[in-house]
Symmetry: C2
Amino acid sequence: MSAGTLRVGLAGLGTVGCGVVRILAERAPLIAARAGRPIEVVAVSARSRSRPRPVDIGVYDWVDDPVALAAHPSVDVLVEAVGGSDGPAKAAACRAIELGRHVVTANKALLAHHGATLAGAAEAAAVALRFEAAVAGGVPIVKALGEGLAANRLTRVYGVLNGTCNYILTDMAKTGRDYSAVLAEAQAKGYAEADPSFDVGGVDAAHKLTLLASLAFGCAVDFDGVSVEGIEQVSLADIRCAEELGYRIKLLGVARRDGAAVERAVRPCLVRADSAIGQLDGVTNAVVCEGDFVGQIVCEGPGAGEGPTASAIVADLVDIARGARAPAFGVPAATLTPAEPAHRPAPFYLRFRLADRPGALAEVARDLGEEGVSIRSMRQHDEADGAADVLIVTHACDRAALDRALARVADSPVSRAAPVALRIEEV
Amino acid sequence: MSAGTLRVGLAGLGTVGCGVVRILAERAPLIAARAGRPIEVVAVSARSRSRPRPVDIGVYDWVDDPVALAAHPSVDVLVEAVGGSDGPAKAAACRAIELGRHVVTANKALLAHHGATLAGAAEAAAVALRFEAAVAGGVPIVKALGEGLAANRLTRVYGVLNGTCNYILTDMAKTGRDYSAVLAEAQAKGYAEADPSFDVGGVDAAHKLTLLASLAFGCAVDFDGVSVEGIEQVSLADIRCAEELGYRIKLLGVARRDGAAVERAVRPCLVRADSAIGQLDGVTNAVVCEGDFVGQIVCEGPGAGEGPTASAIVADLVDIARGARAPAFGVPAATLTPAEPAHRPAPFYLRFRLADRPGALAEVARDLGEEGVSIRSMRQHDEADGAADVLIVTHACDRAALDRALARVADSPVSRAAPVALRIEEV
């Protein structure tokens, strides 16, 4: 291990970038003691040089372009905090690796789309590519999966991976307000972006799940292999009905090994209200790892924000300073193997709005039964205007069969609204 | 990094040792892919060669003595699973380091007493000393503190560190049976040792807390600096009264920075029933880390057992195979600094058994008041035989002042039993 200073080129000076500057400055002696050598920012790059910032960047070399920053002669490691799955972020990371510099990034979109290519290039160049900050903010879950649980054949990794969605769902449940009201408030408070579609649509969580799946199962880094559904359609009525049945609704990312196939999905699910995931409120993230030897490990913490994200980036820098050079996804990039998507049967929560008349329930029961969907419990929930909500919990069933049954019900004369179906995830 | 096989000498073939043999054999290709090279047991040692075991040890070199095993010519790394804070475990670890071999151990007693010496020797010899399995079994909390949160100035680390105690306390609360009945059943089920004193007396948790405190705060590895109290005196009555007030009783290990001093204590505490720690049931362990940048991180999982412990040991071996050489406690052993114990004021739960007569409450209130202990709430709980339980929650107060007040009450004519005082820990 070199005893000299590890020199950082920092591309991107938004919240996260400034957080990195702040930690490295404020905690310099502590970090040098832990890393065995000083870690210092030497050069920076951002879209605007003059924008007001909470840290003084005048002491660092300024470079206009992140790709040029990657090639700055004094830079040992590029911290990429630019964002975006392509464009300058990708170009800068590629250039840094090409020149034999390490790369640390919080950019889940970049990695979900180009992770395998970048990891392979980093191995070929014998440099580190690290991304602890890309998943669950300050929670060291990338390290836990890639190193701490390395002895295990993992069976399932799942969790609440998007704080914005969890905040919205928690707040709907607590205040009884509907989705759009809560989203508007989350935007006002800064918990949701002006354009929230990446968060509420599940894409951000799917980027993270892509990385977790590759770390856990050694499968190819394949964003397109993730089935994605957001929380836009989750209604207050379903949150209330789920509560009545002992469940909470969470946007879950789930990756599960099924032989050679790997199920990868982000979607709103029902989870037991008394489980660790069920109890997770607000913007907190949680990841659960299940392995054959270790059993079940749960890690929770703040999933975003300047402090947690910068904390994770600097932890990666400390590891690099100490000489850590493990492959980015825990195994050589060339061995990451494409995995078929798996479609596992599961129990479902169903809500039907039916005409309040004799034979309506029988119609639903027959439609489900004829498609092989078996009912575990059924209850009538709410009655008004000649219609009633009927809640059904099924035994484990195939989603395709369920969809056929739901289509039958929707087409029947007793149906008063589109049926709702949400998966129940055992946690 | 060498590409050759990492050759393991395994001292101790009890549950944990056999678990290591099993993982390395059953997961060989996976581990080799993750470690970048094969990891193989080459030689073993144990008290009895012929004792029946779930794994075949005939394929490994047999060495009678762990110290001789440490010096076996083919051994790159010693896995010490012998146990005990001194004797053969210590001798074997020292010998291995002296000869330039890495050491991996699950032995919290050894490290709590000799961790700094061993860490210093390992640094001088440029070998790794690793102990992920020593704290919270399969939960990668040593890695989280030493690496994942390395950018943070940590403020507090606490948790449920002993599964046996948590099982007993959880079971008392659930079944309404008293301590001795539940302990006897835990022994029958194998959750508690025949001699349970290390567990129920808090010593095992204190060993672990000693290591966590040094990892978190860089303080000297100082078992004697930990204040230790076990669960033997926790009564069903207090568990029930705590529940009534919205708390659960847990054996907590707490390490908290207070300027240059570090509070280190293991003791039964009241924690909010709705907190992550409050909800932790059975033999599960949990550790909470609080840092200035990262906020609060919670890690939970099985704290003991063959699979989780062996999983942690093998994770350490994978790190060593990959070339990881960070100092054992995250900073150079020579910089670990003795820290004064801190005595932080805290709110307390008090239970008094008082004569059921006018003036009894006034006597208690006066005794507390005169020692500067202020009352947040007070309620009468139970009344029988002319005596009544009075529950008091105090504002934060000094333990010494509280003890003086309790002595006054105990000496007064209204007292019918020794007062109970349990700290309330904010979690």
